[in-house]
């Protein structure tokens, strides 16, 4: 008999098969990931996790008999009180009460669920939005490394030789191995000379000579500095101190915002969050919704709770300023804000909104994005879209030199360009 230990065999033998499966199921997985972003909360997207895809797309067909119709017979265990010739009412279909034979091959699974890692998930998610390589490169290089002292190592370049540490090692080794000290040798030599001169004690002289020879031999065998004493200063690459970011999500939730519009907004916020998450170690989100008054809420309420009322945009900005002053001081935090709205505002509020934006918010923000969401079936009227109140207000501010990104979005596919405009490299912003 042989016993073979296969545990150390390279693992992941199934990886190739798994990849093949993923490749095959990719379209399905993509759709599943996209759909799941609807159900998941923004923060959940971080976790990756399970998606389920319809089994149909990866079905393996074969020729088999139908499970219905015809004459079937079953041999069953556990008869209680049936007698020969007895008739049993047909159990309802699919109930399995009659104890149909176990379906071979395990049919009847509903959906096929499998787990995606965070990376796989984000890749598929971003791929859906066709994040170009340009932005990816930027993502990859945002974190810089710095070198930091990290103890000692036994190898290194001479320039990094840690002299003190080396000498300390050398000393302890010499002590441990009992290398004779130079002054001990000198003392012995002095004693020998003395004895040679006086001829007092020939026995002691002989002894002393032998001892000196031994000492010299030992001194040669145990070097002053041995390669094993050497220590070098070691440095380690560490990420630069971690920057933190906060993202303000401002959304108009007055009655005119439809589910479709909220979905567009959510997609944009999600994308922004994922992006920031990659750039900063620490990202916080603040959800602020407003009608004619504004409040900070949790995500659930933000996206899903029904709300109606008039629209006063400045309240949202005021709320943001309040939160910012309380918790996220601009000198410590990178501040991002995205505002989604259908563009309606009370006309008397426009001036105040513009003032808040240009005087207080924009100076504090890295970026401010305004996303005007519209109905999918919106069509241009006359020469173009009607400019909304808010759009005109912000446009005015922008022409006065304010750094604000503005886009109108009616379809999911429109979301990405806005995102790109925000995060493209400076030099390429024009062409974006």
């Amino acid at each position: 008999m042989h016993i073979v230990d296969r545990r150390l065999n390279p693992g992941g033998k199934s990886l190739a098969n798994r990849q093949r499966f993923l490749r095959r199921a990719k379209a399905l997985v993509k759709r599943a990931v996209r759909d799941s972003s609807k159900e998941r909360s923004i923060k959940d997207l971080e976790a990756g996790g399970e998606v389920s895809i319809p089994l149909d797309g990866v079905r393996e067909p074969r020729l088999r008999r139908s499970s219905e119709g015809g004459v079937r017979d079953y041999l069953l265990p556990g008869n209680k009180d049936y007698v020969e010739g007895e008739r049993i009412p047909r159990p309802p279909r699919g109930g399995g009460g009659g104890g149909s034979q176990g379906s071979p091959g395990g049919e009847g699974e509903d959906d096929f669920r499998f787990a995606l890692s965070h990376e796989e998930f984000v890749d598929l998610f971003l791929e859906d939005l066709e994040l170009p390589d340009l932005a990816k490169r930027k993502l990859a290089t945002t974190e810089q490394l710095s070198w930091r002292r990290a103890g000692f190592s036994v190898t290194g370049s001479p320039a990094n030789l840690a002299l003190t540490r080396t000498m300390r090692n050398s000393l302890s080794r010499r002590i441990a191995l009992r290398r004779p000290r130079p002054d001990a040798i000198a003392a012995l030599q002095a004693e020998i000379e003395e004895l040679e001169r006086t001829h007092d004690d020939p026995i002691r002289l002989e002894e002393a000579r032998e001892e000196l020879a031994r000492m010299r031999k030992r001194t040669k065998a145990i070097p002053w500095i041995d390669p094993i004493d050497l220590r070098y200063r070691r440095s380690e690459a560490t990420p630069r101190p971690i920057a933190q970011a906060v993202m303000f999500c401002l959304m108009d939730v007055s009655g005119s915002m439809t589910e479709h519009m909220k979905d567009l907004a959510k997609r944009f916020f999600t994308l922004l969050y994922l992006f920031l998450k990659r750039r900063y170690k620490h990202v916080e989100i603040v959800f602020i919704r407003h009608t004619h008054e504004a409040s900070e809420v949790d995500e659930e309420t933000f996206f899903y709770s029904p709300e109606t009322g008039g629209t006063v945009v400045s309240t949202a900005l005021e709320e943001m300023i309040r939160v910012m002053h309380e918790r996220y001081r601009p000198e410590d935090w990178n501040i991002y804000a995205a505002q989604a709205s259908d563009g309606d505002n009370t006309s008397s509020d426009n001036a105040k909104t513009a003032a808040l934006l240009t005087d207080q918010i924009l100076p504090a923000c890295q970026y401010f994005a305004y996303l005007e969401v519209g109905r999918e079936d919106d069509s241009p009227m006359g020469f173009g879209y009607r400019q909304s109140d808010l759009w005109r207000t912000y446009d005015l501010a922008r022409s006065a030199g304010a750094q604000i990104a503005m886009r109108k979005v009616r379809h999911r596919r429109d979301i990405y360009p806005v995102f790109r405009e925000l995060f493209a490299k400076k030099g390429e912003q024009k062409t974006a």
């Binding site: 042989h2 230990d5 098969n17 199921a25 017979d73 041999l75």
Partner: protein, 524 residues
Amino acid sequence: MSLADLTARKTAGPLPEGLLFEGADWDFGTIQRVFDAIEDIAVGELGLDVYPNQIEVITAEQMLDAYSSIGMPLFYKHWSFGKHFAAHEASYRKGMRGLAYEIVINSNPCISYVMEENTATMQALVIAHAAFGHNHFFKNNYLFKQWTDADGILDYLEFAKGFISDCEERYGHAQVEMVLDAAHALMGQAVHRYPRKMRPDLRSEEKREHDRRLHEERMYNDLWRTVPTKERGAPDDGDLLRRRALLQLPQENILYFLEKTAPKLAPWQREVLRIVRLIAQYFYPQGQTKVMNEGCATYVHYKIMTRLHETGKISDGAMLEFLRSHTNVVYQPQFDEPHYGGINPYALGFAMMQDIERICEDPSDEDREWFPDIAGRGDHMAVLRDVWANYRDESFILQFLSPHLMRQLKFFHVVDDEDEPDLEVKAIHDERGYRKLRRALARQYDIAHTDADIQIVDVDLAGDRRLILQHSMLNRITLEESDTRRTLQHLADLWGYDVLMREVDPETDMVVREHTASARRRLV
């Protein structure tokens, strides 16, 4: 004894007298000791005849992996294995399903996988079950002898893996995947169900021809010349018959037929079909011997573990742990319990083999009447070894399912006729029912009964080269519609031209349903 003493003994102290191991931990020394002790019992006392054993210790992930590629240690790559891996893994992670404790491969040497997570007791159980039970069955059962080549399988798999990855490099993943997908869909129709005539080689063919002539000369009688001959039939008939004979029609092995005659396939595609077909054939006996194979292994492990306990080689605790696993394995839920999933082959096989032991050693009058050959014969191991060698599930049940066991399991037979309003109980476990029950159960394991009878019946070579298949329905059961459509599509892609499948009720000779498919694209 203080706690410190206990822990000290557990880690370092010598084992108590006679025990092979104590506690759950094991190392290679333990496995060797356990194996030797088990081998003594298996070979010395039970008289098993096995291939040399190789035990491989693997991790849970590797077990999942082996599981997904139908238990084979090396296998070509295909997405469906990835799919199964993901499915198994998901349910394993969720704790919905435990992993198999073991996988055993019908090869020489016989390879058994054991998982590192198993306890020492489980390792003993696995070794008894797989390395001796299954191993003996593989080596001795006539179906395995007839259909599988234990010496060659690992080399062949190695070849298959290499060949398919070469093809992927040369022709692209997509191309190979297309052929494999199609071949997998037809895998169920890729076995020769009966041993075929050995193909005569040229020299013996020549000799036969010579003998035939000699025979004719000897038997020549001029008188026969004067007997009027029958008018020759229409030439078409002759052509038809000749063509069918040339194509070896009707043909039930669809992959074999495609490999040999599909007009558009490239040589490498034929080889891929051949690989899939040979692997299907390799697994063909396993499908027909599930009850016997598992029964044999379960019976053997039960005997061995009991014996180890009797001789004081395993502790009471280990025995209890073993019994717990064992009873889980042979548990047979009754038909009205919610998790009833058909008849458990482990339970049925084990019960029947124990029953045979009872009949041999301690028969009742009823047993003497039913089993005159073996009742009271003593030496039950000899009987069992003979059974393991010479039967498959269907014949085994037909021969050895005893009234005693049918009563014990309370079998009853229900017929579900679509045209009737109610189900009917045809037979129960009583004097009138035993034979009916036994026949009904045996039929559930008869492949002629369980597998759909699908054959290629004709090819319209003179016309549009349409391939015509026929499904002879049994009990008016048609094929599953959507799967059939998809599978035929694969078949048409391989064949390169249209495919027609007729579903025929053999009782009335009526065509009940027809499916067609046209080739989508050239595979080559």
